[in-house]
């Protein structure tokens, strides 16, 4: 019996000796380990290396030489932020307790094409309707809808109000300029109110392995009509370069509808859904891990092109007019 019991103590010892083997210790927060962890994760899971022609190995050589064990936290943050900046991607951020890196070049080098004060004063006025995040006003028999962030949830009741008002007008303007994105489900819900039938609007694929071209299959992205009565009259969507991420997806959804038109400047992009990660020193980050293409295989990361290219005219602004809204009204009344 004593001999048999011995086997069990051996088994217990074996079980506990497996702990370190099965569950390795967490990586150390040393600067070099932090750098390698970030570089490797981006190398394995980032989705646009080939599309953007980025030599990530070269980036590693450039930046790793500047990392040393005695580098300060701020200096390390700046170095990692600079490295991530090379991805030229608005969906890439490094978040620390003291700062958040970003690349906003996708809109900073382009015309603003949007003046919120002008819209408040001259178009929404004082008696516009507020249905959840949707601000709307009837202008010359056209319903103007302003939606500033897809992060703000639209309810079906909100949408019902807009659709009912739209049915009494000659068309709808949906202004998503400066809308930096948010939740894709809000984009799909809003677009579904203007769709007559189910249709594919894009295809998406997701990284499935560490190789730069290791992706899962292209999956269709489908827009379905809202369960209630949809509005099938004319719709004009106003976009600018700050229309990003979920807003680009919304623009692409509307782009495929036969009754919708995009007007303004192309969207900023943001066609890759970001995946999150964390570094051994506690900092977190995100970067794109998917690719989305339109029906002509054009990457949404490069922005959704408009049907009518138009910039905000300073002279019109001086007159108290937003010439994009004016052009949209004119088209819908035609």
């Amino acid at each position: 019996m004593v001999k048999q019991a011995r086997y069990f103590w051996i088994l217990v010892f074996f079980q506990f000796s497996c702990e370190q083997w099965v569950l390795p210790t967490a990586p150390s927060p040393d600067a070099i380990e932090v750098f390698d962890s970030l570089w490797e994760d981006v190398n394995d899971r980032y989705s646009f290396f080939s599309h953007k022609g980025i030599d990530w190995e070269q980036v590693r050589e450039t930046y790793r030489a500047r990392v040393s064990d005695d580098i300060g936290q701020l200096e390390l943050y700046e170095l990692l932020a600079d490295m991530l900046f090379e991805l030229r991607d608005g969906h890439v951020n490094l978040s620390t307790g003291f700062n958040r890196s970003r690349n906003w070049e996708w809109y900073q080098e382009f015309p603003v094409n949007y003046d919120e004060n002008l819209i408040e004063q001259e178009y929404l006025g004082r008696d516009y309707w507020i249905s959840g995040p949707l601000l709307h006003q009837v202008l010359d028999e056209v319903l103007y809808v302003n939606y500033r962030s897809f992060a703000q949830r639209i309810s079906e009741a909100n949408l019902q109000v807009v659709v009912e008002r739209a049915k009494r007008t000659r068309g709808v303007i949906i202004d998503v300029r400066n809308n930096g994105g948010g939740n894709l489900s809000n984009a799909a819900l809003l677009a579904s109110a203007f769709a007559e039938e189910e249709m594919e609007y894009a295809r998406q694929r997701i990284k499935s392995g560490p190789g730069p071209e290791e992706f899962g299959p292209w999956e269709p992205m489908v827009l379905s009509p809202w369960e209630e009565d949809t509005f099938t009259g004319l719709v004009i969507v106003l976009t600018n370069r700050r229309s990003y991420s979920a807003t680009s997806f919304f623009a692409q959804m509307m782009n495929t509808l036969p009754n919708a038109l995009l007007l303004g400047d192309q969207t900023g992009g943001g066609g890759g859904t970001p995946v999150f990660g964390e570094l051994p020193n506690g900092w977190t980050y995100r970067f794109s891990a998917t690719q989305t293409v339109d029906l002509e295989n054009r990457q949404l990361e490069d922005g959704v092109l408009v049907d009518l290219r138009l910039d905000l005219d300073p002279a019109a602004v001086q007159r108290g007019e937003d010439n994009l809204i004016e052009a949209a009204i004119s088209l819908l009344r035609r």
């Binding site: 702990e19 967490a26 290791e214 964390e278």
Partner: protein, 262 residues
């Protein structure tokens, strides 16, 4: 999940017990246990960081002992938050069924070393609280392997006690786990048929690449009524390789009540 509901399990056990009671040489036991499990784990699909924490952990075990073999069917459930050393958190839930069969034709059932086999089926799901996208990941495996039981009965101050340790090691089976980035396993939606997609999502489980082993050591105090009270210490480890590896270490301490069914 509804099949794990006590509303289903208890009537099933009673009906099963009534049917098997006809065999007068069998004994039926129901164990109910609850306690805390210190769990540490890492899912490379989230990060290289280890997440640890105390979870609530419960068991319901139904056992049938016949002269030559003992079979147990153990339903397990655990839930709780885990944090890494910087305070980021995820919620971890697990549910499973662990079956043992031990053979004791040559030795008494109530003492000694008994060999047998175990079948483990575990579903784990975790949601990261700091990630906006791809925050849900899960894994499941079914495996089979050898098991060992050692029982040592003893008397102390006129009371009956026994020490029981059970060990299992899962050797071969299959697994399904979240994909490289997203929650769905790779290949889950590549084919038209559900069964075809299922086959694409399944990977083999085999010792060497994947691991699952555990111990259950219990000190049992048998009451004069025939029922028992016990405390159990239960360490276990599991590791699923391939894709984004998932590793897990758990140590549970449980208080148990045994009801002698027949």
């Amino acid at each position: 999940m509804r099949f794990f509901s006590p509303y289903f399990i208890l009537p099933f056990l009673l009906a099963f017990g009534a049917a098997t009671a006809a065999f007068s040489q069998t004994k039926g036991n129901l164990w109910l246990a609850t306690g805390l499990q210190l769990q540490s784990g890492r899912d490379r699909g989230f990060s290289p960081m280890i997440y640890s924490g105390n979870r609530s952990f419960s068991l319901a075990t139904f056992g049938i002992e016949s002269p030559h073999k003992t079979e147990t069917f153990q339903f397990e459930f655990g839930y709780g938050p885990l944090t890494n050393r910087f305070g980021n958190s995820l919620n971890s839930l697990s549910a499973g069924v662990l079956n043992y069969t031990f053979y004791h034709k040559e030795s008494p059932a109530e003492r000694g070393l008994h060999w047998g086999w175990a079948n483990q089926n575990v579903f784990n799901v975790r949601r990261h609280n700091g990630f906006t996208n791809y925050s849900l990941r899960y894994d499941y495996f079914t495996a089979i392997g050898p098991a060992l039981r050692y029982i040592y009965p003893f008397e102390w101050k006129g009371q009956s006690f026994r020490w029981q340790t059970v060990a299992h090691w899962q050797v071969v089976g299959f697994q399904i786990k979240s994909g490289y980035i997203g929650a769905d396993p790779e290949g889950l939606s590549e084919e038209e048929t559900g069964f075809g997609n299922f086959l694409r999502a399944v990977d083999p489980f085999f010792a060497g690449k994947d691991w699952s082993m555990g111990l259950e050591s219990s000190l049992v105090w048998t009451l004069p009524t025939g029922n028992s009270l016990a405390i159990r210490y239960r360490p276990e480890i599991s590791s699923l390789g391939g894709g984004q590896p998932v590793q897990r270490l758990g140590q549970a301490v449980l208080v148990m009540v045994n009801i002698r069914l027949w």
